[in-house]
Amino acid sequence: MKKQVDILIIGSGAAAASLSQRLLEKDPNRSILVLEAGIKVPMKDYKLYQDYLVTGTYPYQFCEDLNYPSIFGNGENVPVGGNQLQLSGGRAMMFGGSTAHWGGWSFRLKPEDFQLYTNTQIEGTIDWPISYDDLEPYYGQAEDYIGVSGDSTDQVPPRTTKYPFCEFPYTLEDQGTIEAFEKLGLDYAHMPIARHGISDTDSPHAPCKTTGTCKYCPFGARYFAGNFLDEMLKYGSFPNFEILQGAIVDRITMSSRSKATGAVYHDKFTTDSHTVEAETVIVAAGSIEAAKLMQRSVTPEWPEGVGNQKNNNLVGKNLVSHPFVYWEATLPENPQRLQPEMDFPTFISRHFDSKEQQPFGKFLTVRLNSFSDQFNMTTNNQVSTLTKAMQTGLNREEIDAVTTGPLNVQLITQVEVFTKTSNYVSNTAPNVINHLGMQETNVHYVPDSGFENRLDQIQTLLNPVFNEMGATNFRKASDSIRADHAACVTRMSDTPETGVVDKDLKVFDTDNLYVLSNGSFSSLGAINPTITLTALSLRLGDHLNSK
């Protein structure tokens, strides 16, 4: 039997959750169907929380991509252009999507980000068809919806509303970095972070209690779309709002070049195929899957897949994400016994995320947890130095020596890279299915030839910071690029010559097909994308509500 709905949303992540919230606020009776390929993993479960605490394994790990195949074992997906951009760990395919494992860093883009091409003239890049001012009111609403704790006096970038919750103060660990930044005249700020705080109004969301196990928050204090969707289903009084799990959408259906009629999906458990008819179709399947789904949706009017214009086939192209670069240096001693007391950073700097740096690849700087020089535990926030020391059998005196001895301090930088049509994602052959039952992905990502040079420049810019801190042996600990912030593969533009969707996120040449994902960003900037995605989602909600 065919299902008929007003709005079909494909995917159940932050994009889907915030959009359906906005639509249902206006009309609680609206019929909305969300099709989610993944399944529900229990959240706020104390057993699972304690298991994560002791083992560091989070219960939704199976919803992530496996590593690429290698000599060490079977894997999935195909790194077509070398092994550069990792999918594994970069998204979660489950009820609620990738905010299950996000950090909650909640930055807005800066005004100059919306004019990348104008400011840099870099070939292959474009300007956004909207400006910062167009999005500013929605940024405020997105921060309210997500529940961001931040410093409302911080006007970089400019803001007209307050954060819903106050900022988390700088930790004692931040002190050395702050002093160094001040001496060098570099700007810094509080981290705007998606953690609920104490509120005067009734809220179903518990405040953050600083337990520091955020990849599996026992209280639901960090925004996770799945928790919000659950609450909508439970308490929302939305009689025509439905979410199907294990529903893998195979293709979007079209009755003409301009009209989407719905989608065909199959039940991952029974493999039965079903058709849904909808007035409006929203693809909110995350950047990569959204592009792949559109490529798969071949119709007589869209022979290369819906959204792919004859002359350029842009769907899936222009893949970017953020290279994460870890910088470390060693302090000779640690008399204050500095150690991670929080699981999320409180100090950030957007000094080099600036218009001046834009042509070279602007970057965000964040101070991460420090760790004892004795243990090689760079990026593992889950296990503290103390835990490691006790578990490996050091006695009290030895631990005293470790906790006051040499300390590795680290900064992470997230660098903007520029779109190129030669970097893309696409579907593997239809019968190549990943461990979750979804078609696998070809990933072609080759960094710019100048990227290594850019890393050297960044090292030169950060060197004085570590010097001022009195840290030695300044080094690049690692750099990698993963799909966490994969974007631009269905990018928004003024024209179908350079983009896939228009300024309302509507696929060019269609009347009722929208793509709501980071893929629709025109460029990525240097910051984490989800607040911008949510702002776009609420804006799309208003657009659809006004129809």
């Binding site: 298991d51 605490l53 700088y170 004692l172 007391e341």
Partner: protein, 158 residues
């Protein structure tokens, strides 16, 4: 069919009624927990934490019933070590023997260390044991909300 037993949410097939920890084993595990505090802490482990330990053990067993056997094994390993070396040295051997960190554990002593004692260390720290080493908050510790003037961790202003 909702009422059918086979629809019950489950992490494993064991019946919860069959996998309860006995009072004697729990007492031994509580003693192990107290000894962790004695060996590493500077303040004594308070009785109030008994419930936390019991909840933790039951949660581990609920996830994987083999923990029932690991707790029993730990109790037996500790008894043997104490018989051989006396209480202080027995526990010290369990806590510090570097030869039993093989992954996965291959002896019963290594299992007692890794599946029980080392997990209890995480619990011990998350219940406040870290405070003896200078911090005000730590991973797993429910420090409290971000209230102005009452920040639950060390800040630059304190």
């Amino acid at each position: 069919m909702e009422h059918r037993k086979y629809n019950r949410k489950a992490y494993h097939a064991a019946d919860p009624a069959d996998v309860a920890v006995s009072q004697a084993i729990f007492n031994d595990m509580w003693e192990l927990f107290v000894q962790i505090g004695k060996f590493w802490g500077k303040t004594e482990v308070v009785e109030d934490l008994r419930t936390d330990l019991l909840v933790f053990m039951n949660n581990r067993i609920a996830m994987d019933p083999s923990y029932l056997y690991d707790y029993k094994n730990a109790s037996e390993v500790i008894k043997e070590l104490i018989y051989e070396m006396g209480e202080e040295k027995g526990y010290e051997s369990l806590f510090t023997d570097k030869s039993i960190l093989d992954d996965p554990p291959t002896t019963l002593k290594a299992r007692a260390r890794q599946k029980v004692s080392n997990e209890f260390i995480v619990l011990y720290l998350s219940l406040g044991g870290f405070k003896d080493y200078g911090a005000e908050n730590s991973l797993g510790y429910i420090g409290g909300a971000n209230i102005k003037g009452k920040t639950p961790y060390r800040t630059i202003d304190k």
